[in-house]
């Protein structure tokens, strides 16, 4: 059986050992991996995301919860793959920090919260060229690309990357974020969305992939 509340609490506390224990016990007693994901891991991370968005918890708690969720996810992934569900059917977001910029904490946080929100995230890391973004978007069939920049100096790269994505990556939606980025800048360069923080990035991307 699945101790749903126990599993959720373990994720909320960032206690990956307990998460592993709950998930293993559930798998051992024949609980469906999809149920473990949808009734335990994802709802807990949804709470984490909301609390973070409301400034009730801090980045360290989000990262520890995300790590705990991943510990559980690693255990159920084989069963999810066998069931033919899970990762393959989730919307794909390609994330990266644009060329010339090596900052990644904000991007990492967005990635973790997107995964918790039910997305498949392809994280290209930092200093990512437009070509790499285009390649990843086409290879993974991404619906959304997230461009991050911390430096004012790399905003120009963001504009160029977006222009090249528009030319070579079909209808992919683009969301931008990072300290120097504003809604005005997003409008100017033709981005589909702007996110001032990780929580709003997830919300904006959910809007973009929602059926019209």
């Amino acid at each position: 059986m699945l101790d749903e509340e126990g599993l959720r609490q373990a994720v909320l506390k960032g206690d990956r050992d307990s998460v592993r224990t709950f998930v293993t016990a559930a798998l051992d007693t024949g609980v469906d991996a999809v149920k473990i994901l949808n009734a335990g891991l994802l709802p807990a991370m949804d709470v984490v995301g909301k609390r973070f968005g409301a400034k009730q918890i801090y980045i360290s708690e989000v990262l520890l919860s995300a790590r705990a969720m991943h510990a559980g996810l690693a255990l159920i992934r084989p069963a999810l793959a066998r069931a033919g569900g899970g990762a393959d059917t989730k919307p794909v977001v390609v994330l990266g920090t644009v060329k010339g910029d090596l900052h990644d904490i904000g991007k990492n946080l967005v990635g973790m919260m997107l995964e918790a929100g039910g997305f498949t995230v392809v994280d290209l890391g930092t200093n990512v060229s437009a070509q790499k973004f285009i390649q990843a978007v086409n290879e993974h069939g991404a619906q959304v690309v997230g461009l991050s920049a911390l430096l004012t100096t790399t905003m120009r790269e963001m504009r160029q990357t977006l222009a090249e994505l528009r030319r070579s990556a079909g209808t992919v939606k683009a969301v931008i974020g990072g300290a120097p980025v504003t809604q005005e800048f997003a409008d100017t360069i033709g981005a589909d969305g702007y996110a001032p923080d990780a929580a709003s990035a997830v919300a904006r991307i959910k809007e973009l992939v929602a059926p019209a």
């Binding site: 801090y58 360290s60 010339g100 430096l151 004012t152 120097p180």
Partner: protein, 402 residues
């Protein structure tokens, strides 16, 4: 009054004759020199100082030029957060450490530190893309702490660092700056051992796991690093400098309030007491989102919150900051760098933004106008000129509310 006098008066909470305007131009200068895109009238060899003089603004000599090294030794220990740059008032020398440096085919520098208790290494990068974008500092690609056992090695390195005065080096810098600005003696970027761990010694995301997974190692490292900090601040306090900078890059998400309160605030307070006892002004670099940190910064004992950003780049308004600081801390900054960019706002919006800023900071006490974090390479030159004009036209203190 000279630019220096204006800055000093503002930093001490006294009235200057006019609002000091001290934009940080080095990154803009580096990028535009490289591109050959200086404004009309400025030749390809124009210096940052000549640009500042042309604008009629104070010289920003607060943050060192981390890439402007005399020899590789100046920045070889960047992976430990240690520099030996021109103008520094101290030298930090590693003792009982065998340092091995090699360059990778991709141009990255690997620095290995071999100590009697073990070895650690780091990888420092400076890519062509970073150069083109005008980056002001190298990047730590691999940090010295990668495994729990690395803490003891790094602790041993810090326990054995000898900090000595290098006042002649500082005096030469001070003399060069003269009355054009304030020659701030730079300390280190991490205001405390834990902030140094976060900034320099481990990966930025891994840092949060380290606090949770290895609290004993972190605590031991704090103890091992404390003598280095104590030596450093003692040397800076006894230096010929009027102002000292320690600590940088606070942000209410990254250095969130409980973390700041536990691991940064007590150290800022401690350094403030030491520096104030020697009559020094204490600057710290507050270039992130300060909204959630205001009461903590207000209690920190600092004299100047440098590189303060404002909306639309952050949530924290200058009004909120001035209220929280209650006339005890000088704000240095206020012009968010994006307002200088054409793609972020029109000229009319820029004009309105700046007029609003002057109104917001009136009467202008404890304020040094600057661009936060710095003037970006693509800044519209005429907007910089316009700010300088506005300071000339409307900057007489106390500012009038219009």
């Amino acid at each position: 009054m000279t630019h220096k006098e204006r800055m000093l008066r503002a930093a001490r909470g006294d009235w200057a004759d006019r609002l000091p305007f001290v934009p940080r131009l080095d990154l803009w200068h580096n990028a535009n020199r490289r591109r050959g895109t200086f404004p009309p009238g400025y030749g390809p060899e124009t210096t940052t100082a000549e640009i500042a003089d042309g604008l009629g603004v104070g010289h920003h000599r607060i943050i060192p030029e981390f890439l402007n090294v005399r020899t590789p030794d100046d920045s070889i220990d960047r992976g430990l957060g240690i520099f030996r740059l021109r103008g520094y008032a101290y030298r930090a020398e590693l003792q009982h450490v065998d340092r091995v440096v090699r360059t990778e085919p991709d141009g990255a520098t690997i620095v290995e530190y071999h100590t009697p208790v073990g070895s650690v290494s780091c990888k420092i990068t400076f890519t062509e893309e970073m150069r083109e974008s005008g980056a002001s500092i190298t990047w730590i690609d691999e940090h010295v702490i990668k495994r729990p056992e690395d803490y003891a090695v790094v602790g041993s390195i810090f326990r054995n660092i000898e900090v000595s005065p290098d006042y002649e080096n500082y005096r030469a810098f001070q003399q060069e700056v003269g009355d054009t600005g304030l020659a701030v003696a730079h300390g280190v970027g991490g205001a405390s051992p834990v902030q140094a761990l976060m900034r320099d010694l481990v990966d930025g995301t891994q840092f949060y796991y380290e606090l949770a997974d290895h609290p004993k190692e972190v605590q031991q490292l704090v103890e091992d690093m404390t003598p280095f900090y104590e030596q450093l601040v003692r040397v800076l306090a006894a230096s010929p400098a009027e102002a000292v900078m320690i600590g940088a890059n606070y942000d209410d998400t990254i250095t969130f309030p409980p973390l700041f309160e536990e691991h940064i605030l007590p150290w800022l307070q401690r350094w403030a007491a030491v520096l104030h006892a020697s009559g020094k002004l204490f600057f710290t670099h507050c270039d992130g989102e300060n909204e959630g940190l205001l009461p903590l910064l207000a209690a920190s004992g600092i004299d100047v919150a440098e590189s303060v950003c404002a909306p639309p780049m952050v949530q924290c308004s200058l009004t909120a900051m001035r209220q929280a600081f209650g006339g005890r801390i000088t704000i240095f900054g206020g012009v968010p760098s994006v307002v200088l960019l054409e793609e972020s706002m029109t000229d009319d919006e820029f004009e309105a933004h700046m007029r609003g800023l002057f109104t917001e900071i009136a009467p202008g006490d404890r304020f040094i106008l600057g661009v936060s974090d710095m003037v970006p390479p693509d800044a519209k030159w005429h907007r910089l000129v316009r700010i300088a004009e506005m300071v000339e036209e409307h900057g007489t203190l106390p500012l009038k509310t219009r």
